[in-house]
């Protein structure tokens, strides 16, 4: 009986699951968590890097989704609906936590400086190791930390994950023109930060740069 119910739930459509879960069916909501857990984790991973933080915020996303199930009317996709909740929850959490700090080239660790030097020298020998490793991600976090969370997530989605603009609009709930303009401004801002970082490597006498 139980396994039959589980199979039914497994094959149920998103809208049916949302209705059942909204009326208190735990099994239905468990299926929603199973289906969209990886997606919510991926979204949270754009904002946070530590597993514990990602898990915590993902849990909060599902708690919010559970309490807001009544507002889902099935007009858009459930995936888009839950993605928007996830994005907004993460943005709120980041806004609550701190203001985005200024980036200083002098804050780079030795490893990050080495990565930068290697890249600037045009070496591709260690690309795989460096670019997929923690060092580049750490440096990226520092640089991306200098722009607003909204700009950061747009760049990660568009330039990092190569998502189409339409999908980014669905996730964020913003218009296409807003996404495009915001992305261009964010790229320019970030590019200027990186430019200063590169220049400070080439002319270290300039010292601490903003």
């Amino acid at each position: 009986m139980g396994s039959k119910l589980a199979v039914e739930v497994e094959h149920a459509s998103d809208i049916d699951l949302a209705r059942q879960a909204g009326s208190g069916d735990e099994l239905a909501f468990e299926e929603i968590v199973r289906r969209y857990g990886p997606r919510v984790f991926r979204i949270a991973g754009r904002f946070f890097r530590q597993r514990s933080a990602v898990e915590e915020i993902s849990q909060e996303v599902f708690l919010r989704a559970y309490t807001q199930l009544g507002t889902y009317e099935g007009r858009g996709s459930f995936e888009g609906w839950i993605s928007r909740i996830a994005t907004n929850t993460c943005l709120n959490e980041i806004r609550k936590a701190k203001r985005h700090p200024e980036f200083y080239a002098a804050d780079l660790t030795d490893d990050e400086e080495n990565w930068l030097e290697t890249r600037l020298a045009g070496s591709s020998l260690s690309d795989d190791y460096f670019e997929r490793g923690i060092i580049a991600a750490d440096l990226a976090d520092k640089v991306l930390g200098s722009i607003s969370p909204e700009d950061r997530v747009i760049l990660i989605m568009l330039d990092g994950e190569d998502l189409p603009v339409k999908e980014v609009c669905e996730i964020t709930g913003w218009s296409q023109s807003k996404v495009k303009i915001r992305a261009m401004r964010a790229r320019r801002k970030l590019r200027k930060t990186v430019e200063r970082m590169i220049n400070s490597r080439r002319t270290p006498a300039k010292g601490r740069l903003r």
Binding site: R42, R49, E131, A140, V143, L144, I156, V194, I198
Partner: protein, 164 residues
Amino acid sequence: MRCRQVRKAIDEQLPDAAEAGRRLAILAHCEACAECRGVLEAAEMTARLIQARSFQEIEPSPFFRTRVLAAIRERGAVVVRRQTERLWSSARVIVASMFVVVVVLLAMNLFAPKPVDRIGGEDAVRRDSVERIVMDDNSTADESLTSGQVLDTVFAQGDSYGID
């Protein structure tokens, strides 16, 4: 292309992703212009950093679903507790006023003067009254007297007052 156009184009899209004609124009300009070459280099570096940051994938642990459901139940319990607290806070005034009424009634019962029998007056409670002696056969004070003796006494007293 001018420097301004090149920089705007770079911020919109890296040359690698741009269409062939546009890409060639940007690259040709950057060959000749050191400043724009620096801009292109920084833009490429930026793109690499963003890709490096996006590489990380975290999958939900096998216990994640259990944790979420436990948190929902816990939050449900909290909601019930909050509702009870809210209910109690609104009912508090009523309960307190009921308590005050009960206390006042008790105090009145204990400390207020005893009610007096309006019909019989003081005589009604006298232990040695005729009616009491006649009606209360179990009275300890008059255990030795029978009802007949009492009646004899009463009639004898009546004779002395001239009652027929």
